[in-house]
Symmetry: none
Subunit: 233 residues, 2 copies
DNA sequence: AAACTCTACTTGTATATACAAGTATAGTCA
DNA sequence: TGACTATACTTGTATATACAAGTAGAGTTT
């Protein structure tokens, strides 16, 4: 099947970046260079570059040129994205390691986070999500067993907790808290960072119609991850 | 100053939605209808609709049409809050210290952040915002002198840069990036934290109709500040 | 009544062309 | 040596045109 010519140019540019021929800050071929190289119109070349700019892979400046953007991954501040989909959407390899999957007794804080009684049994999963073999996110999640009774029987190497929970308890609400923290030694080890390095911690509480579904603590190495968002007025 | 024709069409569509003439799910005028109504080419009409689609204000389907998207929730994670108002809303005392207010020559990176030429003169302000006498936010901001020519003559002890810029260059767009960082010694000193402590860094680029207004780097001590947000579906 | 065809609409991709606006650099002049 | 100008590049906006592909609905045929 034939892909559109503008998409072929995008693939070429992304390929150059991924193979290391173009580094952040490097200038990419101009619209005129691409029209010569690919035998397309300038508007087709322009569309390819403009879309990569919209995707924040490139940055463009009138009169100056088009450059490779800062490489560090960034996800939307608001949207609840499936980390696997997010990594794959960047054209990168995703895999994860399962660290823990068990029923546990909720502490006072944990019970409060899930709006359950202290001492309740809750499900807990701990996973390490990796991009291109490098740890990106340490996910420590508590789940309400009432709303996802089969949680412990899932294979989270095949499907993220997020994807599974979206199926069995569709979201109606979510709360986020973002903070900068230093993590404990075991999380630092898992993320392959020094324990003095700052991490982004996103605490996310998600609800369905029937109540709080899960409370996830997500840790990202500060030097390898950023959250982004865009507002219009 | 004249705005581009594609932008005028975007404004029209957004205006129709905001005034309630177009509701989520409603079909918006087709490309052909817009070219007749606005006397533009189909590609110009198309660009307006395509950008609104990229911004998730509209959804498009080949052969079907263009429709108003479901209203997106807006979270305080992204809201541009005036730090003074935020602190006062908590019933706390706000004051700030002015560290720097000057015209500077933009580096390559700074120029790109403001969509200006390298070496351009830009305005820079550095302020320390405090809650109950304790530093909460270190604000390092670059401002486009064209859009706020009187910036250097303001008294930012009386009115935050945010408040002032909202008056002289009303916002139409903003981008945020949130990351966890360790800050340089001078910022750590100002924030009254140890330089090994993690900080939240929010990079915020704000635009008005006429272009990029400012690029602010906001640093918050990780142990004293969290960003929060709420989503509804 | 169901299936098929045709028409009229829609968006998607693409080209050629033109002018505007921004930027950097080389060359010239004082 | 610095200022100025011209040139050559860049991206930004816009038009006219053409064909491809998708969709819905009206009309026709079986």
């Amino acid at each position: 099947m034939t892909i559109p010519r503008f998409a072929r140019i995008k693939e070429f540019i992304v390929g150059q970046i991924e193979q290391g021929f173009l580094l952040p800050g490097d200038q990419v071929p101009s619209e005129n260079q691409l029209l010569e190289q690919f035998g397309v119109s300038r508007m087709t070349a322009r569309r390819a570059l403009q879309e990569l700019s919209d995707e924040q892979i490139l940055v463009r400046a009138q009169g100056l040129g088009t450059f490779v953007a800062d490489a560090r991954p960034m996800s939307s501040l608001l949207e609840i994205k499936n980390i696997a989909d997010e990594i794959r959407a960047r054209g990168h390899n995703y895999h994860c390691d399962l660290i823990l999957l068990d029923a546990v007794t909720a502490s006072a804080q944990q019970a409060m986070d899930l709006s359950l009684a202290e001492g309740s049994t809750v499900f807990r999963s701990v996973l390490l999500h990796c991009e291109n073999g490098l740890p990106l996110q340490y996910e420590d999640r508590l789940v309400n067993p009432v709303l996802a009774p089969d949680y412990l029987h899932q294979d989270f190497l095949l499907q993220t907790p997020n994807a599974y929970l979206s199926e069995v308890a569709p979201l109606t609400e979510a709360d986020h808290i973002v903070e900068a923290v230093c993590v404990e030694e075991s999380i630092a080890l898992a993320l392959e960072i020094d324990s003095s390095q700052p991490c982004l911690k996103v605490s996310r509480r998600t609800c369905s119609k029937r109540g709080v579904v899960s409370f996830a603590s997500l840790f990202y190495p500060g030097n390898r991850y950023r959250l982004g968002g865009h507002l219009n007025f």
